[in-house]
Protein backbone atom coordinates (compact mmCIF):
# COMPACT_ATOMS: atom_id res chain seq x y z
CA UNK A 1 0.00 0.00 0.00
CA UNK A 2 2.83 2.41 0.96
CA UNK A 3 4.45 1.79 -2.41
CA UNK A 4 1.33 3.01 -4.23
CA UNK A 5 1.26 6.26 -2.29
CA UNK A 6 5.00 6.73 -2.86
CA UNK A 7 4.34 6.51 -6.60
CA UNK A 8 1.61 9.14 -6.30
CA UNK A 9 3.81 11.48 -4.24
CA UNK A 10 6.70 11.03 -6.69
CA UNK A 11 4.34 11.84 -9.55
CA UNK A 12 3.20 15.02 -7.77
CA UNK A 13 6.81 16.08 -7.03
CA UNK A 14 7.90 15.55 -10.63
CA UNK A 15 4.98 17.65 -11.84
CA UNK A 16 5.87 20.47 -9.47
CA UNK A 17 9.51 20.47 -10.57
CA UNK A 18 8.44 20.44 -14.20
CA UNK A 19 6.01 23.32 -13.76
CA UNK A 20 8.56 25.55 -12.04
CA UNK A 21 11.24 24.81 -14.61
CA UNK A 22 9.13 25.92 -17.58
CA UNK A 23 7.74 29.16 -18.96
CA UNK A 24 4.02 28.58 -19.04
CA UNK A 25 2.25 29.95 -22.04
CA UNK A 26 -1.45 29.50 -21.23
CA UNK A 27 -3.04 29.04 -17.84
CA UNK A 28 -6.62 27.84 -17.82
CA UNK A 29 -9.23 27.12 -15.24
CA UNK A 30 -11.18 23.96 -16.02
CA UNK A 31 -14.48 22.53 -14.89
CA UNK A 32 -14.98 18.78 -15.26
CA UNK A 33 -17.72 16.24 -14.79
CA UNK A 34 -17.86 12.57 -15.55
CA UNK A 35 -18.74 9.10 -14.53
CA UNK A 36 -16.97 5.80 -14.24
CA UNK A 37 -17.98 2.17 -14.29
CA UNK A 38 -16.10 -0.22 -12.09
CA UNK A 39 -15.91 -3.90 -12.73
CA UNK A 40 -15.33 -6.23 -9.85
CA UNK A 41 -16.79 -9.07 -7.89
CA UNK A 42 -19.20 -9.26 -5.03
CA UNK A 43 -17.60 -8.87 -1.61
CA UNK A 44 -17.66 -12.25 0.16
CA UNK A 45 -18.43 -10.71 3.53
CA UNK A 46 -22.14 -10.67 2.61
CA UNK A 47 -23.53 -14.17 3.09
CA UNK A 48 -25.95 -14.42 0.20
CA UNK A 49 -27.78 -17.57 -0.87
CA UNK A 50 -27.46 -17.68 -4.62
CA UNK A 51 -26.58 -19.62 -7.70
CA UNK A 52 -23.15 -18.47 -8.80
CA UNK A 53 -23.24 -20.62 -11.95
CA UNK A 54 -25.07 -19.11 -14.88
CA UNK A 55 -26.23 -22.16 -16.80
CA UNK A 56 -25.19 -25.75 -17.03
CA UNK A 57 -26.20 -29.04 -18.65
CA UNK A 58 -25.67 -32.12 -16.52
CA UNK A 59 -24.62 -35.55 -17.70
CA UNK A 60 -28.23 -36.42 -18.35
CA UNK A 61 -28.64 -33.27 -20.46
CA UNK A 62 -30.89 -31.65 -17.87
CA UNK A 63 -30.61 -27.89 -17.95
CA UNK A 64 -29.71 -26.10 -14.70
CA UNK A 65 -30.19 -22.37 -14.91
CA UNK A 66 -28.81 -19.75 -12.58
CA UNK A 67 -31.78 -17.39 -12.47
CA UNK A 68 -31.36 -16.98 -8.73
CA UNK A 69 -28.11 -15.08 -9.01
CA UNK A 70 -27.31 -11.75 -7.40
CA UNK A 71 -25.40 -9.13 -9.35
CA UNK A 72 -23.16 -6.37 -8.08
CA UNK A 73 -22.51 -2.96 -9.60
CA UNK A 74 -20.27 0.01 -8.77
CA UNK A 75 -20.39 3.43 -10.43
CA UNK A 76 -18.60 6.71 -9.83
CA UNK A 77 -19.89 10.21 -10.51
CA UNK A 78 -17.68 13.25 -10.11
CA UNK A 79 -17.25 16.93 -10.77
CA UNK A 80 -14.40 19.29 -10.06
CA UNK A 81 -12.35 22.35 -10.74
CA UNK A 82 -8.99 21.92 -12.40
CA UNK A 83 -6.47 24.68 -13.15
CA UNK A 84 -4.07 23.74 -15.96
CA UNK A 85 -0.91 25.05 -17.56
CA UNK A 86 -0.21 24.51 -21.26
CA UNK A 87 3.37 24.25 -22.55
CA UNK A 88 3.39 24.73 -26.33
CA UNK A 89 7.05 23.72 -26.62
CA UNK A 90 6.18 20.17 -25.57
CA UNK A 91 2.50 20.13 -26.57
CA UNK A 92 1.55 19.12 -23.08
CA UNK A 93 -0.94 20.32 -20.55
CA UNK A 94 -0.47 19.76 -16.82
CA UNK A 95 -3.41 20.05 -14.47
CA UNK A 96 -4.22 19.51 -10.84
CA UNK A 97 -7.32 20.43 -8.93
CA UNK A 98 -10.07 19.47 -6.56
CA UNK A 99 -12.61 16.77 -7.34
CA UNK A 100 -15.78 15.64 -5.56
CA UNK A 101 -16.57 11.97 -6.24
CA UNK A 102 -19.57 9.91 -5.26
CA UNK A 103 -19.35 6.12 -5.41
CA UNK A 104 -22.62 4.15 -5.74
CA UNK A 105 -22.57 0.39 -5.19
CA UNK A 106 -25.48 -2.02 -5.49
CA UNK A 107 -26.23 -5.66 -4.83
CA UNK A 108 -29.43 -6.67 -6.60
CA UNK A 109 -31.18 -9.80 -7.78
CA UNK A 110 -30.48 -10.30 -11.50
CA UNK A 111 -34.19 -10.68 -12.20
CA UNK A 112 -35.94 -7.49 -13.34
CA UNK A 113 -39.03 -8.02 -11.21
CA UNK A 114 -39.62 -5.39 -8.49
CA UNK A 115 -40.77 -8.10 -6.12
CA UNK A 116 -37.69 -10.28 -6.54
CA UNK A 117 -35.48 -10.80 -3.52
CA UNK A 118 -32.55 -12.82 -2.34
CA UNK A 119 -31.76 -14.45 0.99
CA UNK A 120 -29.18 -12.81 3.23
CA UNK A 121 -27.89 -15.00 6.06
CA UNK A 122 -28.04 -12.94 9.21
CA UNK A 123 -27.28 -15.29 12.01
CA UNK A 124 -25.97 -18.78 12.66
CA UNK A 125 -26.01 -19.95 16.24
CA UNK A 126 -25.93 -23.64 17.07
CA UNK A 127 -28.55 -25.35 14.93
CA UNK A 128 -30.51 -22.15 14.26
CA UNK A 129 -29.97 -20.19 11.05
CA UNK A 130 -31.74 -16.97 10.13
CA UNK A 131 -32.18 -15.43 6.68
CA UNK A 132 -33.67 -12.11 5.70
CA UNK A 133 -35.41 -11.59 2.38
CA UNK A 134 -33.67 -8.62 0.81
CA UNK A 135 -34.53 -6.78 -2.40
CA UNK A 136 -31.21 -4.97 -2.60
CA UNK A 137 -28.31 -3.39 -0.75
CA UNK A 138 -26.77 -0.10 -1.75
CA UNK A 139 -23.83 1.92 -0.52
CA UNK A 140 -22.94 5.56 -1.23
CA UNK A 141 -19.51 6.97 -0.41
CA UNK A 142 -18.47 10.59 -0.94
CA UNK A 143 -14.86 11.60 -1.50
CA UNK A 144 -12.90 14.81 -1.94
CA UNK A 145 -9.71 14.38 -3.89
CA UNK A 146 -6.87 15.77 -5.96
CA UNK A 147 -6.43 14.65 -9.58
CA UNK A 148 -3.07 15.15 -11.31
CA UNK A 149 -3.03 14.86 -15.08
CA UNK A 150 -0.67 15.26 -18.03
CA UNK A 151 -2.26 15.69 -21.43
CA UNK A 152 -0.34 15.31 -24.68
CA UNK A 153 -1.69 16.74 -27.91
CA UNK A 154 0.61 15.17 -30.52
CA UNK A 155 -0.67 16.99 -33.62
CA UNK A 156 -1.92 20.53 -33.68
CA UNK A 157 -4.91 21.62 -35.65
CA UNK A 158 -6.68 24.90 -35.42
CA UNK A 159 -9.99 24.04 -33.71
CA UNK A 160 -10.28 20.26 -33.28
CA UNK A 161 -7.52 18.26 -31.63
CA UNK A 162 -7.05 14.73 -30.40
CA UNK A 163 -5.19 14.11 -27.17
CA UNK A 164 -3.98 11.40 -24.82
CA UNK A 165 -3.88 11.75 -21.09
CA UNK A 166 -2.35 9.98 -18.10
CA UNK A 167 -3.32 10.79 -14.57
CA UNK A 168 -3.66 9.74 -11.01
CA UNK A 169 -5.92 10.78 -8.21
CA UNK A 170 -5.99 10.48 -4.47
CA UNK A 171 -9.25 10.96 -2.59
CA UNK A 172 -10.22 11.24 1.04
CA UNK A 173 -13.52 9.76 2.23
CA UNK A 174 -15.95 12.36 3.52
CA UNK A 175 -18.84 10.09 4.54
CA UNK A 176 -20.57 6.84 3.62
CA UNK A 177 -23.99 5.27 3.96
CA UNK A 178 -25.10 1.66 3.49
CA UNK A 179 -28.77 0.81 3.20
CA UNK A 180 -30.65 -2.50 3.06
CA UNK A 181 -33.97 -2.73 1.24
CA UNK A 182 -35.80 -5.51 3.07
CA UNK A 183 -38.59 -7.37 1.34
CA UNK A 184 -40.54 -7.30 4.58
CA UNK A 185 -40.73 -3.71 5.83
CA UNK A 186 -41.05 -4.90 9.43
CA UNK A 187 -37.48 -6.20 9.31
CA UNK A 188 -36.03 -2.69 8.96
CA UNK A 189 -35.42 -2.61 12.71
CA UNK A 190 -32.63 -5.17 12.20
CA UNK A 191 -30.74 -3.05 9.66
CA UNK A 192 -28.08 -1.68 12.01
CA UNK A 193 -27.57 -5.09 13.57
CA UNK A 194 -27.01 -6.67 10.15
CA UNK A 195 -24.60 -3.90 9.09
CA UNK A 196 -22.56 -4.16 12.26
CA UNK A 197 -22.39 -7.96 11.97
CA UNK A 198 -21.19 -7.73 8.35
CA UNK A 199 -18.81 -4.83 9.00
CA UNK A 200 -19.22 -2.08 6.43
CA UNK A 201 -16.22 0.11 7.24
CA UNK A 202 -14.20 1.05 4.16
CA UNK A 203 -10.81 2.57 3.39
CA UNK A 204 -10.43 6.32 4.09
CA UNK A 205 -8.39 6.69 0.91
CA UNK A 206 -9.47 5.96 -2.66
CA UNK A 207 -6.84 6.29 -5.37
CA UNK A 208 -6.49 5.30 -8.99
CA UNK A 209 -4.13 5.69 -11.93
CA UNK A 210 -5.63 6.04 -15.37
CA UNK A 211 -5.15 6.88 -19.03
CA UNK A 212 -7.62 8.44 -21.42
CA UNK A 213 -8.02 9.53 -25.01
CA UNK A 214 -10.17 12.46 -26.04
CA UNK A 215 -11.15 15.12 -28.49
CA UNK A 216 -10.83 18.84 -27.86
CA UNK A 217 -12.79 21.64 -29.53
CA UNK A 218 -11.44 25.19 -29.31
CA UNK A 219 -8.36 27.24 -30.09
CA UNK A 220 -5.23 27.15 -27.89
CA UNK A 221 -5.90 30.56 -26.36
CA UNK A 222 -9.71 30.31 -26.33
CA UNK A 223 -12.32 28.33 -24.45
CA UNK A 224 -11.80 24.60 -24.96
CA UNK A 225 -14.37 21.80 -24.69
CA UNK A 226 -13.01 18.32 -24.05
CA UNK A 227 -14.67 14.94 -24.27
CA UNK A 228 -12.66 11.91 -23.30
CA UNK A 229 -12.95 8.20 -22.65
CA UNK A 230 -11.03 6.65 -19.78
CA UNK A 231 -9.31 3.43 -20.78
CA UNK A 232 -9.59 0.46 -18.38
CA UNK A 233 -7.57 1.61 -15.40
CA UNK A 234 -6.29 0.13 -12.17
CA UNK A 235 -7.63 1.11 -8.78
CA UNK A 236 -4.64 1.45 -6.47
CA UNK A 237 -6.39 1.44 -3.12
CA UNK A 238 -8.24 -1.50 -1.60
CA UNK A 239 -11.40 -1.95 0.50
CA UNK A 240 -13.22 0.95 -1.16
CA UNK A 241 -16.59 -0.75 -0.88
CA UNK A 242 -18.15 -3.24 1.47
CA UNK A 243 -20.31 -4.60 -1.37
CA UNK A 244 -17.91 -4.88 -4.30
CA UNK A 245 -14.24 -5.72 -4.64
CA UNK A 246 -13.31 -3.33 -7.46
CA UNK A 247 -10.85 -4.38 -10.12
CA UNK A 248 -10.91 -2.12 -13.16
CA UNK A 249 -12.24 1.33 -13.86
CA UNK A 250 -13.39 2.93 -17.11
CA UNK A 251 -15.63 5.84 -17.95
CA UNK A 252 -15.96 9.18 -19.69
CA UNK A 253 -15.40 12.81 -18.84
CA UNK A 254 -16.56 16.16 -20.17
CA UNK A 255 -14.63 19.30 -19.27
CA UNK A 256 -14.41 22.97 -20.19
CA UNK A 257 -11.19 24.97 -19.99
CA UNK A 258 -11.30 28.76 -19.81
CA UNK A 259 -8.03 30.69 -20.31
CA UNK A 260 -7.20 33.15 -17.55
CA UNK A 261 -3.71 34.07 -18.74
CA UNK A 262 -2.19 34.36 -22.20
CA UNK A 263 1.59 34.43 -22.24
CA UNK A 264 3.58 36.17 -24.96
CA UNK A 265 4.93 32.95 -26.38
CA UNK A 266 1.48 31.70 -27.10
CA UNK A 267 0.38 34.96 -28.72
CA UNK A 268 3.47 34.94 -30.91
CA UNK A 269 2.64 31.43 -32.00
CA UNK A 270 -0.84 32.51 -33.07
Amino acid sequence: MKKKYLILISFLSLLTVFVYSQDASVITIGFEGGSGFITGKQNDKWNIRQDVATSYYDYGYNYHSGNNSVSSEMNLYYFGIKPAIYFPKYNINISAGLRFTQSNCYLNKSSNSDESYFFLRYNESGTNTEYFKVKGINENINYLGIPLEITLTPFHFDVVNLYAKVGAEINLKLNSQTDINFSNENMKIYKQDVLSRVGTSTNLIYSSAYAAVGIRFGRVTGVKYNFEVTLPARILSSNNSSLVVPEYYSGFQFSVQIPINKAKESKNKE
Binding site: R49, Q50, D51, V52, A53, Y56, D58, Y59, G60, Y61, N62, Y63, H64, S65, N68, E115, Y117, F119, R121, E124, T127, N128, T129, E130, Y131, F132, K133, F182, S183, N184, N186, M187
Partner: protein
Protein backbone atom coordinates in the same frame (compact mmCIF):
# COMPACT_ATOMS: atom_id res chain seq x y z
CA UNK B 1 -71.49 -7.98 -10.19
CA UNK B 2 -68.10 -6.31 -9.81
CA UNK B 3 -67.78 -7.88 -6.36
CA UNK B 4 -67.99 -11.37 -7.87
CA UNK B 5 -65.15 -10.58 -10.27
CA UNK B 6 -62.86 -8.72 -7.87
CA UNK B 7 -63.06 -11.20 -4.96
CA UNK B 8 -61.74 -14.24 -6.90
CA UNK B 9 -59.05 -12.02 -8.41
CA UNK B 10 -57.87 -10.91 -4.96
CA UNK B 11 -57.84 -14.51 -3.69
CA UNK B 12 -55.93 -15.65 -6.80
CA UNK B 13 -53.34 -12.87 -6.38
CA UNK B 14 -52.83 -13.76 -2.70
CA UNK B 15 -52.40 -17.43 -3.59
CA UNK B 16 -49.86 -16.65 -6.30
CA UNK B 17 -47.82 -14.37 -4.02
CA UNK B 18 -47.77 -16.91 -1.16
CA UNK B 19 -46.71 -19.72 -3.52
CA UNK B 20 -43.83 -17.71 -5.00
CA UNK B 21 -42.41 -17.05 -1.51
CA UNK B 22 -42.14 -20.76 -0.76
CA UNK B 23 -40.89 -21.55 -4.24
CA UNK B 24 -37.64 -19.59 -3.75
CA UNK B 25 -36.53 -22.00 -1.03
CA UNK B 26 -37.82 -25.11 -2.77
CA UNK B 27 -35.87 -24.45 -5.96
CA UNK B 28 -32.64 -26.30 -6.61
CA UNK B 29 -29.55 -24.13 -6.76
CA UNK B 30 -26.86 -26.11 -8.56
CA UNK B 31 -23.34 -24.77 -8.09
CA UNK B 32 -20.83 -27.07 -9.74
CA UNK B 33 -17.87 -28.30 -7.71
CA UNK B 34 -14.79 -27.54 -9.82
CA UNK B 35 -12.80 -30.19 -7.94
CA UNK B 36 -15.44 -32.85 -8.58
CA UNK B 37 -16.83 -32.09 -12.05
CA UNK B 38 -20.57 -32.70 -12.61
CA UNK B 39 -21.27 -32.75 -8.85
CA UNK B 40 -22.73 -29.85 -6.87
CA UNK B 41 -20.53 -28.23 -4.22
CA UNK B 42 -20.95 -29.31 -0.63
CA UNK B 43 -23.12 -26.57 0.87
CA UNK B 44 -25.21 -25.87 3.95
CA UNK B 45 -27.63 -23.32 2.44
CA UNK B 46 -30.54 -25.65 1.68
CA UNK B 47 -29.71 -25.63 -2.05
CA UNK B 48 -31.80 -28.79 -2.62
CA UNK B 49 -29.10 -30.65 -4.51
CA UNK B 50 -27.17 -33.87 -4.17
CA UNK B 51 -24.51 -35.63 -6.19
CA UNK B 52 -22.33 -38.71 -6.05
CA UNK B 53 -20.06 -40.67 -8.34
CA UNK B 54 -21.09 -44.25 -9.00
CA UNK B 55 -17.73 -45.42 -10.23
CA UNK B 56 -17.21 -42.66 -12.82
CA UNK B 57 -20.84 -41.87 -13.55
CA UNK B 58 -22.31 -38.87 -11.70
CA UNK B 59 -25.74 -39.45 -10.15
CA UNK B 60 -27.11 -36.00 -9.43
CA UNK B 61 -30.29 -34.13 -8.62
CA UNK B 62 -32.05 -32.21 -11.38
CA UNK B 63 -34.21 -29.14 -11.42
CA UNK B 64 -37.46 -30.88 -12.38
CA UNK B 65 -37.73 -33.66 -9.77
CA UNK B 66 -38.00 -33.06 -6.04
CA UNK B 67 -34.48 -34.23 -5.06
CA UNK B 68 -35.27 -35.51 -1.56
CA UNK B 69 -38.18 -36.89 0.41
CA UNK B 70 -38.11 -38.07 3.98
CA UNK B 71 -40.63 -40.77 4.70
CA UNK B 72 -41.06 -41.99 8.26
CA UNK B 73 -42.96 -45.24 8.44
CA UNK B 74 -43.47 -46.79 11.87
CA UNK B 75 -39.93 -47.02 13.33
CA UNK B 76 -38.04 -46.48 10.08
CA UNK B 77 -36.59 -43.26 8.68
CA UNK B 78 -36.25 -43.25 4.89
CA UNK B 79 -34.24 -40.67 2.97
CA UNK B 80 -35.16 -40.93 -0.72
CA UNK B 81 -32.90 -39.26 -3.30
CA UNK B 82 -34.33 -38.87 -6.79
CA UNK B 83 -32.14 -37.78 -9.68
CA UNK B 84 -30.52 -38.61 -12.98
CA UNK B 85 -27.63 -40.82 -14.00
CA UNK B 86 -26.54 -41.18 -17.60
CA UNK B 87 -29.86 -39.67 -18.75
CA UNK B 88 -31.90 -42.19 -16.75
CA UNK B 89 -34.10 -41.63 -13.70
CA UNK B 90 -32.52 -43.18 -10.62
CA UNK B 91 -33.73 -43.35 -7.01
CA UNK B 92 -31.52 -44.17 -4.03
CA UNK B 93 -33.10 -44.82 -0.63
CA UNK B 94 -31.35 -44.89 2.75
CA UNK B 95 -33.47 -46.59 5.41
CA UNK B 96 -32.53 -46.30 9.08
CA UNK B 97 -34.41 -48.61 11.43
CA UNK B 98 -35.04 -47.32 14.95
CA UNK B 99 -35.09 -43.61 14.18
CA UNK B 100 -38.53 -42.04 13.73
CA UNK B 101 -38.84 -38.25 13.99
CA UNK B 102 -42.46 -37.13 14.34
CA UNK B 103 -42.13 -34.00 12.23
CA UNK B 104 -39.55 -32.14 10.14
CA UNK B 105 -38.79 -29.84 13.07
CA UNK B 106 -37.37 -32.90 14.88
CA UNK B 107 -34.73 -33.51 12.21
CA UNK B 108 -32.35 -31.26 14.17
CA UNK B 109 -31.54 -34.37 16.22
CA UNK B 110 -29.58 -35.61 13.17
CA UNK B 111 -26.98 -32.85 13.61
CA UNK B 112 -23.46 -34.36 13.50
CA UNK B 113 -24.76 -37.95 13.24
CA UNK B 114 -23.06 -40.78 11.39
CA UNK B 115 -24.72 -44.03 10.35
CA UNK B 116 -22.71 -47.11 9.48
CA UNK B 117 -24.28 -48.41 6.28
CA UNK B 118 -22.97 -51.95 6.85
CA UNK B 119 -25.06 -52.19 10.02
CA UNK B 120 -28.17 -54.38 9.93
CA UNK B 121 -30.17 -51.28 10.97
CA UNK B 122 -29.34 -49.55 7.67
CA UNK B 123 -30.72 -50.60 4.31
CA UNK B 124 -29.82 -48.97 1.01
CA UNK B 125 -31.84 -49.63 -2.13
CA UNK B 126 -31.34 -48.33 -5.64
CA UNK B 127 -34.02 -48.17 -8.31
CA UNK B 128 -33.30 -47.84 -12.01
CA UNK B 129 -35.66 -50.16 -13.88
CA UNK B 130 -35.97 -52.48 -10.91
CA UNK B 131 -35.55 -52.06 -7.16
CA UNK B 132 -32.25 -53.49 -5.89
CA UNK B 133 -31.31 -53.90 -2.26
CA UNK B 134 -27.58 -53.18 -2.09
CA UNK B 135 -25.22 -55.45 -0.21
CA UNK B 136 -22.90 -52.87 1.33
CA UNK B 137 -19.55 -54.02 2.64
CA UNK B 138 -18.12 -50.57 3.53
CA UNK B 139 -19.59 -47.11 3.93
CA UNK B 140 -21.29 -44.43 5.97
CA UNK B 141 -23.95 -41.72 5.83
CA UNK B 142 -22.94 -38.55 7.67
CA UNK B 143 -25.42 -35.78 8.58
CA UNK B 144 -22.78 -33.13 9.09
CA UNK B 145 -25.19 -30.33 9.87
CA UNK B 146 -28.89 -30.00 10.67
CA UNK B 147 -30.34 -26.51 10.96
CA UNK B 148 -33.67 -24.92 11.79
CA UNK B 149 -34.17 -22.22 9.19
CA UNK B 150 -35.95 -18.98 10.06
CA UNK B 151 -36.75 -16.45 7.33
CA UNK B 152 -37.74 -12.97 8.43
CA UNK B 153 -38.00 -14.36 11.98
CA UNK B 154 -40.49 -17.08 11.01
CA UNK B 155 -39.68 -20.79 11.09
CA UNK B 156 -39.59 -22.20 7.55
CA UNK B 157 -37.93 -25.63 7.35
CA UNK B 158 -35.07 -27.85 8.44
CA UNK B 159 -31.87 -27.95 6.42
CA UNK B 160 -29.97 -31.24 6.27
CA UNK B 161 -26.44 -31.24 4.84
CA UNK B 162 -24.00 -34.08 4.76
CA UNK B 163 -21.92 -36.62 2.89
CA UNK B 164 -22.07 -40.30 2.03
CA UNK B 165 -19.96 -42.98 0.39
CA UNK B 166 -20.07 -46.76 0.27
CA UNK B 167 -18.91 -49.83 -1.60
CA UNK B 168 -21.31 -52.45 -2.83
CA UNK B 169 -22.00 -54.96 -5.58
CA UNK B 170 -24.14 -54.22 -8.61
CA UNK B 171 -24.78 -57.17 -10.93
CA UNK B 172 -22.05 -59.05 -9.08
CA UNK B 173 -19.43 -56.39 -9.76
CA UNK B 174 -17.89 -54.32 -6.91
CA UNK B 175 -18.83 -50.66 -7.26
CA UNK B 176 -17.63 -47.56 -5.36
CA UNK B 177 -20.18 -44.87 -4.58
CA UNK B 178 -17.94 -41.92 -3.71
CA UNK B 179 -17.87 -38.21 -2.95
CA UNK B 180 -21.57 -38.13 -2.13
CA UNK B 181 -22.91 -34.82 -0.80
CA UNK B 182 -26.37 -33.44 -0.14
CA UNK B 183 -28.00 -30.21 1.00
CA UNK B 184 -31.79 -30.28 1.40
CA UNK B 185 -34.47 -28.07 2.79
CA UNK B 186 -37.01 -30.37 4.44
CA UNK B 187 -40.46 -28.97 5.08
CA UNK B 188 -44.14 -29.67 4.63
CA UNK B 189 -43.79 -30.62 0.95
CA UNK B 190 -41.16 -33.35 1.36
CA UNK B 191 -41.65 -34.80 4.84
CA UNK B 192 -44.12 -37.66 5.34
CA UNK B 193 -44.99 -39.56 8.47
CA UNK B 194 -47.66 -42.21 8.14
Amino acid sequence: MKKYIILPLVIFTLLISSCSEDYQLQKSVFVEDVNNPELPIYSEWGYNTFGVYIDRQPFISNSSDLPAKIIVNKDTFNLVLKGTMNNRDVTMKFSIIGYSPADYTDLISLNDSTFNLTSNKCIVTMTTDTIKKLNIFEGKLFFKRAQSLYVDKEYMESILSGTFSFKTFINGEPIAVSNGRFDFGIGYENFYNY
